[in-house]
């Protein structure tokens, strides 16, 4: 019998497996795809401190380092966010295919068993533990485990079958499409965000440079507001902005923008990462929260095994940990997102103009919103309490 079975070898799952295995637990990590880390389904941006919190960062994980971000309102008004000191990189654009693989390798090195091209078909409760049905290349078999960690992404089956999460509605998800483009003329010191209902209804378009004149050029749109597909808006964005380059890769994906779920656990089960809707509702960023959640899930799995208590009540410890860490921010950013979704392009332009040219030194949603509240207290009065 395993102590822990982790489903999904993305950042959340591998981090959970690594943490639990390092604590001496008997861990199985399964990935449904035949290759870990691809297709990427991600813009690959993460803040420097979120990554450094857990790792000694390896050069091969990093495609590019950025010193700031530039945000564009619908009429092209630019807001720059960057540290005072030039050359002080604040963000990474990762090479996820390398990073994800290394992370799974770290889990294996810590003692976790890793298998790919394997699907968790279903699970059943049997006398206080779980029986997980697995399928690989036509072979079906069962394993027993004390704890199941669902890190199976936005399309998570485990969370829904366990009754932990509700299916996402069309205003709780971003539909995304992205090209990896090369031969681009782009300043690689910044990441770029383009807002507006015309450009990206309910979402934004992005350019995340990866060095060597290449970049992830992508878009996320909210299906409840978008009239056409994400790919349509992406192609239009590239045409309208005259972005010239060669497309060497295409990926699609979906990002949960739900906000904070009430609980990510039930008896014997914990969810982490996109499976628990842990991505940020404003930025769509999910890697940092996934790593954090995976780490906590691994720790709580260890404590549960040590105590011999796999009840939801005990596993709520995990809820406490992730909620205190980033859950509050999910809740806050969901409220900010709802406010911004109501704004038309004219209002966005007005807001952008009012803070354009001011140097915002912190690269965060909080910094922008606080600055906006200062200049438009009446328009944004209902947001001020979020920062008290």
């Amino acid at each position: 019998m395993y102590d822990v079975v982790v489903v999904g070898a993305g950042p959340a799952g591998s981090m959970a497996a690594k943490t639990a295995a390092e604590k001496g637990l008997n861990v199985l990590l399964i990935e449904k795809r035949q290759e870990i880390g691809v297709p990427v389904r991600c813009a690959e941006g993460i803040s420097k401190k979120s990554l450094e919190r857990f790792f000694e960062v390896k050069k091969r994980w990093i495609a590019n380092e950025v010193i700031g971000a530039k945000i564009y309102s619908p009429d092209g008004t630019e807001i720059e966010l960057s540290e005072e000191k030039a050359g002080n990189e604040v963000g990474y654009v990762l090479e996820r295919r390398v990073f994800d693989r290394d992370l799974a390798r770290m889990a294996a090195k810590a003692g976790a068993e890793v298998i790919v091209k394997t699907t968790a078909v279903k699970f059943e409760r049997k006398g206080g533990i779980l029986e997980v049905h697995l399928r690989r290349m036509g072979d079906d078999w069962k394993v027993e485990t004390k704890i199941l960690i669902g890190a199976d992404g936005v399309e998570s089956r485990i969370g829904r079958e366990a009754g932990i999460i509700k299916t996402l509605k069309l205003n709780e998800i971003e539909s995304c499409a992205q090209y990896l483009m090369t031969n681009l003329d782009v300043d690689k010191n910044y990441t770029y965000f383009y807002l507006g209902r015309e450009i990206a209804p309910g979402g934004y378009a992005w350019i995340f440079p990866k060095g060597n004149s290449s970049a992830n050029v992508g878009i996320g749109v909210m299906p409840s507001l978008a009239k056409k597909s994400a790919k349509y808006y992406l192609d239009k964005f590239i045409k309208d902005k005259n972005i010239e380059g060669s497309i060497v890769e295409f990926v699609a994906g979906a990002v949960p923008v739900y906000g904070e779920i009430e609980t990510a656990v039930s008896d014997n089960i914990m969810l982490a990462g996109d499976a628990a809707y842990h991505a940020d509702p404003i930025t769509g960023g999910g890697i940092a929260n996934a790593l954090t959640a995976g780490y906590y899930a691994g720790l709580v799995a260890y404590e549960a095994v040590k105590k011999g208590d796999f009840s939801a009540r005990f596993l709520r410890k995990y809820d406490e940990l992730w909620k205190n860490d980033f859950g509050k921010r999910l809740r806050r950013n969901k409220k900010i997102q709802e406010k911004f979704l109501k704004m038309d392009d004219k209002t966005l332009n007005k807001l952008a103009k009012s803070i354009a040219g001011k140097r915002l030194e912190e690269l965060s949603v909080k910094a922008i919103v606080l600055e906006l509240i200062k200049t438009h207290p009446r328009l944004l009065w209902d947001l001020k309490d979020l920062f008290l």
């Binding site: 449904k32 795809r33 035949q34 297709p39 389904r41 091209k117 699907t119 992404g153 936005v154 399309e155 998570s156 089956r157 829904r160 299916t167 996402l168 509605k169 069309l170 998800i173 539909s175 995304c176 499409a177 299906p223 409840s224 056409k228 597909s229 994400a230 790919k231 349509y232 295409f250 990926v251 699609a252 994906g253 979906a254 949960p256």
Partner: protein
């Protein structure tokens, strides 16, 4: 007239967005292959609307 959801495999980028929004668990992503379980599908169109590549559509049968 009965309806059903069909998938254009040349457009599908097997991202799983359609699985994420299906209340009836009718869509399944098996590695790079999306399966629509017609017996579970209610043709609510959520998957059609979320698909980033416009690979899903509804047809009358």
């Amino acid at each position: 007239m009965a309806k059903k959801i069909v998938i254009d495999r040349y457009k599908c980028a097997y991202c799983g967005a359609c699985v994420a929004v299906c209340k009836f668990n009718a869509n399944e992503l098996i590695e790079t292959f999306v399966v629509i379980h017609e017996d579970l599908c209610n043709c609510c169109m959520n998957c059609v609307k979320v698909c980033p590549t416009n690979a899903l559509s509804v047809v009358e049968v």
